[in-house]
Symmetry: D2
């Protein structure tokens, strides 16, 4: 199609697929507006110069070396459809050339926030154990079943990390007239205040909350920063809800704090995934478990495609991308957590 | 104490107790501001004229006959600390004399709303069964565990009944950018609109919602008004969440609709409470159970006392009560559901 | 029309007219659903027993004596389409019989709140004088024209009175992240808190606000309660905005406080209306004037008819009115301010 | 001070001054945390290599050539304390080197939004002319003075441009239950929806709004894009409120549309500033004038210093700036409007 004037995009969304991340309608739009060249992430260098020299976008994050980048003179953006940035390309070259590297992990913010709220309400009201008791005919009625029940409304809530997940959590909490304190060292205090939350130290968030939500990314610096001391400082009976990555906590210390009865907890993420069958957390009372299901909804994946289309449309008009999140020179090296292997 | 100028209040809060509904501080205030005469509900008529002729308030809803009422010339209000009005006094006499009959059931609105939201999120994400599977080592990870998962955010939500419970539900749903339709024949459409919800027919609420919350009181007219036809009209896979009284639904029809796989459901109330051990709902998949625990939190009961104090303070100053809800001539006869026997 | 089964309503809306308070559509509905008998307020007693014995509603507040009331056995409600209650009927009889007396003054809440906010922003930014200066070629540009300019966002705001007007003000202020303190002795503190405002003493509201809005009704008890001492206690440069009735302030003291430069002010109401041509407030710098125009918008009057229709519909179904505001036994005698003579 | 380890910042904030943009406290912090070298914008090249080779930040936007930039090896950011970007440096070099260019114009968003709302309410209620009439004894009372009055509540509102100003406007409008449509070709539709506004075409915004707010920046492409045709398409009596730059409208056409009575208008910006004394807009009825005063509040300037401190703190910790707005490679050339000459 020598006269094809559509911009060219190379599609390498692995481990996603175009069908996973685009609705039928969006996929039609993608093909109508762009000339799509599909290949394997490992095979980019094998593409012809005809393709590479015209490529405006890469959907995915394939390995790229200096030589291949040099053959991509018109490249405007890599649209990474995972949440993590892999160390498989010379990012500094991309930044120098002004090639945007954007991520679509924002799509998971709303599902994760709903799961986090669900976990908090479950813990506050003992819903899982009450339903089990009911199945087995040993349920307690009315106030008798509410000895440890409490409300989220009016509670002191702490959020660790105020990126997309933290903001989405804050939004679903907006009807609960709660006092929300946030610890996020990457975020200016005034931005937190504009979002209606209180900037606070990590210690204050841990020690003065009834519910603590952890939505901080793992970086090269914060691995395991929530350990025995952190849990010991929490209010007795407070809830610790882990939604981002297991790497930010000392998981054994978390289990001990729950086992001792000092706190209760919920987690969507675990030190190993899948987890050994004999792992202690499987039967730990006071601990609510979810098998990394918080974000991975089909509706979330489908939003990735919409975001990609919206940002490519902006860049086609020589505008900067606004919908996806851009990788930053300063933090790209710190944000490299393990790639996902399961959608 | 012949010179005691404190107003006199007769305390008969059964089945509650003063200790249940007042915090320590509030109880101190009550005693500091009022001369409290405690008696059994059945023994009001046996109180001396000295007491009855001075009584300004009755805390509770004891049986009262014309003769006793005639001996209570200064009575300004009955402060009913249950949610139901019992047919044990000539209400028309109270209304004629301008004696307020107020109820404190509003304290349950927030806990019930949180439980309702918890149920909706649980159903949407399959949290109970996922935790059980995790305990037993058969959990599904990531997207594999989310085949039927969905979001509340952006969903179509129906609410049946827009009294205190409905309003509280609307409040905790405020962060979910949902479209909320309400059916409430007792409520002018313009008030619903002012609350940011859409007035709708019962049929529309049932047939165009992803989640239907039932928070309507039982009246003499709406018993069992939600039956097989109502459930059949719901969207496939939609969730039916019952929070007010079992009397408004045909419970067998509800179970059948769930059993058939057409809808999923959750309920806090049941046709009999406690429920027979062999009741089918106990093991019904797709049904989340709670043993009438949605409202009965200690913190809710304690708010009753605060409400009573605030309204007595207004009435002491010859102002109308504003904090509790007033019984109405038109509806008092319709609102008589069964008295609670358990706190 | 002997077989006319429509409920009968007597229409005496003076000083309003049906055309003022009903849209064309609403008027059609009124006539379709009700048999309307129009008469003069003074002529009610002259209506036939055929009419009086069937009358279910009176739209208006005509003088009524015991004898006429006795001839109105089926009367369910007087729907007062003014804001004030006139002392021209034995209210105690109406209350005893359970005849509702409802008012529609709520329609003015939104227009008055917008005018109040407009006044505050005008004062804060000096808009009137800046526009005048601009007309005359002596405007100051940029920061030079902003020496005394300030923001409402983040300010301390006081509201005196938290009825419909106060609530509407609170609503239009919701985007300003302001701290709002309210003084209202008729309103329980917990209700204020539920509305997101801080209950406070009159003194605190006056002394710790940048903007004070007065939306309190005149009662038999609060006449002139805001005087020289109140104004002296305000923050230097603070704004006093009067929206309800001139009777609640000592107007001379208010003018003096403005003249001295201590505070600035705006008012929609005046001790005499119309005001003498030589009244000092007409040329007082630092004072923004509005000639009782805050509420009287055509769109507000038209809402009265909608409210009347909604409440008659409820009462037709033996339900209590919910849309209009009910007069209360306790306060009816206190709420009698002068009738309006101009729409 | 050879052992001074504080990072070095060059201060050239002209036309601002450090005193204008920093509070006393902030200025103390600035000096405590940084070694500040003050100079004239024109004299940067004259600074010693000792200074230039250590400079981490430049506060201001002085002219910079390639040679000078080469002598600034540690430069991390230019913190521009105006709203505009001047074409006085090779931006492409800055972008290549990853030197951030950030602007602080966001501080004006809140004051401009309040002014815009004030203008809308003024126009809707005729406040300026009513106060003038009152001064002169020709005021109209009550409804007589409200013939053309209308509400913002429930109105159709259009916003052109959804940068910081548009978002701030949307925020102060949040209490008005208005339907808000936004035209912004630089902004993905889904982001508009997340902000609770409706994405719309320019035509729809113009033709279906009661109030149109223009907060779009002038770019090299949109000069004068709102002309006679745009105004002719507006609803009769609708209000056009200009808050960004006069360059985006055909000012003569705007005045004609107002003069003809088709629309009413308000503007904070004018084709020439200051404006000739005989300019027609000075006496044009139906037009509210403000002499470029919407943003220039002292409190806004002081926020600039806070923003600068917050972002320098992030960059000191090797994090990207988040508080100020970053110039973008794609749009830097388009965003160059005339520099301000007056604070």
């Amino acid at each position: 199609m020598p006269n094809d004037t559509r911009p060219l995009a190379i599609s390498v969304p692995e481990p996603r697929t175009l069908d996973l991340i685009f609705t039928d309608d969006a996929l039609k739009q993608l093909h109508a507006r762009y000339r799509i060249v599909e290949t394997d992430p490992e095979d980019i260098a094998g593409l012809s110069d005809e393709v590479l020299s015209h490529a405006r976008y890469i959907i995915g994050q394939p390995p790229l070396d200096h030589a291949t980048l040099a053959r991509l003179p018109k490249l405007r953006a890599l649209l990474n459809v995972e949440s993590n940035l892999i160390n498989n390309m010379p990012y500094e070259v991309l930044f120098e050339r002004g090639i945007h590297v954007v991520t679509t992990g924002q799509v998971f913010a709303e599902p994760v926030a709903e799961m986090g709220l669900a976990m908090a309400l479950n813990i506050a009201r003992g819903i899982v154990d009450a339903d089990l008791a009911f199945r087995e005919g040993r349920e307690l009625w009315g106030g008798d079943g509410n000895r440890s029940a409490r409300l989220l409304s009016g509670a002191d809530i702490g959020i660790i990390g105020f990126g997309d997940l933290g903001k989405a959590l804050n939004r679903v909490l907006s009807g609960f007239r709660a006092r929300i304190r946030v610890f996020d060292p990457w975020m200016p205090a005034s931005i937190l205040r504009e979002n209606g939350v209180e900037p606070a130290t990590l210690e204050k968030v841990l020690t003065e909350s009834d519910f603590v939500f952890v939505v901080a990314s793992v970086t090269s610096e914060n691995e395991g920063f929530l350990g025995a001391k952190a849990f010991a400082g929490m209010r007795p009976g407070a809830a610790f809800i882990l939604l981002s990555r297991a790497g930010v906590v000392d998981f054994d210390a978390l289990m001990s704090a729950v086992e001792s009865g000092h706190i209760v907890a919920a987690s969507d993420v675990f030190p190993e995934e899948p987890l050994p069958l004999d792992h202690k957390v499987r039967r730990l009372p006071g601990f609510l478990r979810s098998a990394h299901r918080a974000g991975a909804l089909d509706s979330a994946f489908k939003k990735m495609g919409d975001m990609v289309l919206e940002d490519m449309d902006l860049m086609d008009r020589d505008l900067p991308p606004m919908r996806c999140k851009r990788a930053e020179r300063e933090t790209v090296a710190r944000m490299r957590s393990k790639p996902v292997t399961v959608n």
